[in-house]
């Protein structure tokens, strides 16, 4: 494939979700680029939407790369480092940042010199990409110079974390990777002193599917099926972010009717996820009646999803460049008829939970995320909003899509950053989501589709959506109507690195299920 200059302005078409925003691109030397991005992030002026390698660097054959990775680890027998693979290819770093005050999205490309086997670490300044750079290092062998915690992350079968706390009375408790319930595979290493958790290290990537590589050469329609399957409980958010990125890359855009349906499906997804999280928290605190009743409400919402869209988890609801195949006359009537009863029951049990001292006492002050950590790690979703940070792409970037319904970013009133604050943020968001759905229902019904755009266009696009767990970002590069490169940033990828800190500081072993339930992290979203 001939080399495409992705920085050219013609490669980016303005689309409806980014209405009123300026999109720009810049290419610098990698040192300047990392320093600039770090400065913007540390000062809080900009927000990082995506960070990784730009296409053209990592496009070698997947099987070759995996074989090379195995050979390297096997040959050196070194469990701490993949061997340097100075292959002479020129690499380019990519950071997509957004500046809310200027309403600008900036694509920063940072060119590494040919043969350069390292790049200056962004994680040295901004902790949110600690895990991302470990992954980039392990995939390509390109070293983030100055990274404070460079360890393998992607091959848990070969390399697990080592205990940190040592000395008399310390105990190391491994948990997982096989978990109870339908939880995905994850390993947790607790360093404890009596009941006290002194340190906790999560290890994921047990079920890494390399979805981004699988999509290369696919049509965006086929890649959308993969996007829906990144994380089952954020199907709509990932599909929406992917479609927004693809529509920008292909130059076709979307319409207000299409976006309105995506907003509705996104809120339906939030409703069943939040009520599931309430149920899990009730379970973790031994509130079995509330747990059962809230789980029942979740099941009712899933059945409602199926009756409206044909899929309990809303698969197939979001389509590329066209409206959903939904009979809105029947679907809207069913939603309008059934949601109020579910809402009444959920609110009743939430009220009871909030007035139950044994429930509230267990949640406060459990699993505290300090505001400083939340900012430093770039956390998103209810975890960030529980610390008082107004981080929500619905109001930050996509506010014009919520003009007809209104949307208020719900931060915690007490902003304590603990499990109770996260619970209360979700309680407030339950009301907001229901309000948006109710207001949208009479507006739906008009089917819409947009021109598919030029099938041979080369372009790039960024799509964002607010999943129940926070901001989801997709970056897509297309050429000749096919996917050239795809980058996925799930909400949980921002929140996982702070989970260990929240678990360790001042908590005891029996707090873990509560912290786990209150974070509601997705394993598949990060593993992808």
């Amino acid at each position: 494939m001939e080399t495409v200059d992705w920085v050219a302005p013609a490669r980016l078409a303005p689309t409806l979700p980014w209405q009123g925003w300026r999109m720009d691109a810049r290419r610098d030397g990698v040192e300047d680029m990392v320093a600039d991005v770090a400065q913007g992030l540390v000062s809080g002026r900009t927000e990082l939407l995506y960070y990784g390698f730009a296409p053209g660097d990592d496009l070698d054959d997947r099987a070759d790369r995996e074989a090379a990775g195995k050979r390297d680890r096997g040959a050196t027998g070194d469990r701490d480092a993949p061997a340097e693979r100075g292959d002479g290819r020129s690499r380019e770093l990519l950071a997509v940042t957004c500046d809310h005050s200027q309403r600008e999205v900036l694509w920063r490309f940072g060119r590494c010199e040919a043969g350069q086997s390292g790049f200056p670490s962004l994680a040295a300044h901004f902790k949110g990409v600690l895990w991302t750079e470990r992954e980039m290092w392990e995939k390509t062998g390109c070293t983030p110079v100055g990274h404070p915690d460079l360890r393998p992350i992607m091959h848990p079968e070969e390399c697990l974390p080592d205990p940190v706390a040592r000395g008399a009375g310390t105990f190391h408790l491994p948990l997982g990777p096989v978990r109870a319930d339908v939880s995905e595979s994850g390993f947790f290493l607790f360093d404890t002193l009596g009941e006290q958790i002194m340190h906790m290290q999560p290890q994921l990537f047990y079920k890494h599917r390399d979805i981004e590589s699988l999509a290369r050469g696919m049509s965006p329609e086929d890649a959308l099926l993969l996007a829906e399957r990144i994380s089952g409980t954020s199907t709509v958010a990932h599909a929406t972010a992917f479609c927004r990125a693809a529509e920008q890359a292909l130059g076709c855009g979307s319409s207000r009717e299409i976006e309105m349906e995506r907003v509705l499906f996104g809120e339906m997804e939030r409703l069943y996820n939040h009520v599931h999280d309430f149920s899990q928290l009730a379970s973790a605190t031994g509130m079995t009646v509330a747990q059962a009743q809230l789980a029942r409400a979740k099941e009712e919402l899933l059945r409602l999803n199926a009756q409206v869209t044909g899929s309990r988890y809303l698969r197939g609801a979001v389509a590329l460049g066209r409206s959903a195949s939904v009979d809105w006359a029947a679907g809207a009537a069913r939603l309008a008829a059934e949601l109020p009863a579910i809402d009444r029951r959920v609110r009743h049990f939430l009220e009871l939970l909030q007035n139950t001292p044994t429930f509230v006492d267990r949640l406060r002050p459990t699993g505290i995320v300090e505001e400083e950590w939340a900012k430093g790690y770039g956390t998103v979703g209810p975890v960030a909003r529980a610390c008082g940070l107004a981080v929500d792409v619905r109001s930050d970037c996509l506010s014009h899509l919520y003009e007809s319904t209104g949307h208020a970013c719900m931060t915690a009133e007490d902003a304590f950053g603990d499990a109770l604050s996260r619970f209360r943020v979700r309680v407030r968001e339950w009301g907001v989501s229901l309000d948006i759905v109710t207001k949208l229902l009479p507006l739906l019904g008009a089917s819409s589709s947009v021109d598919a755009g030029s099938p041979h266009a080369a372009g790039r696009g960024i799509g964002v959506a607010e999943s129940p767990r926070g901001r989801v970002g997709h970056v897509l590069f297309c050429d000749g109507g096919k996917v050239v490169s795809w980058g996925i940033r799930a909400a949980s990828a921002w929140n996982w690195p702070v989970f260990g800190l929240a678990t360790a500081n001042g908590n005891i072993q029996t707090d873990f299920p509560i912290i786990d339930a209150s974070f509601a992290l997705s394993y598949a979203g990060l593993d992808r």
Partner: protein, 119 residues
């Protein structure tokens, strides 16, 4: 004690189903989709719309006993529904119940002849 249990049992009637004589057709009721089934023979193998539409190559047109046949590998199916939507013959349909269990990988692969009945 025994008499009490017996009377309670008689009073509650039959609560189990008579599967497989009677299959619970729950899926259409809740409009839940599972992997499609082939419920009628294909009349035009030259069309191959289903095989082209299938994103995971779960559907292929093969030679079976000297003639063309549609082959469906449900282990590779992700229930996207493209075959149900696009087949002009209506060969594929959403199933009415989830009751398929096989002991071997091979038995998840079916051809048109083997599945002319539902499921």
């Amino acid at each position: 004690m025994w008499a009490k249990w017996l009377l309670a049992g008689l009073a509650s009637g039959r609560v189990t189903t008579t599967y497989p004589r009677h299959r619970e057709r729950e899926l259409p009721k809740y409009r839940v989709h599972s992997v499609p089934v082939m419920n009628r023979p294909c009349s035009d193998f030259g069309c191959a719309e289903c095989a082209e539409a299938c994103p995971t190559d779960a559907i292929t047109i093969v030679q079976e006993r000297g003639r063309d046949a549609v082959r469906l590998d449900v282990a590779a199916c992700i229930a996207c529904g493209r075959c149900v939507d696009r087949c002009p013959d209506g060969v594929f349909a959403w199933p009415e119940a989830i009751d398929r269990a096989e002991a071997s990988r091979e038995r998840l692969i079916s051809t048109e002849e083997a599945t002319t009945h539902d499921g």
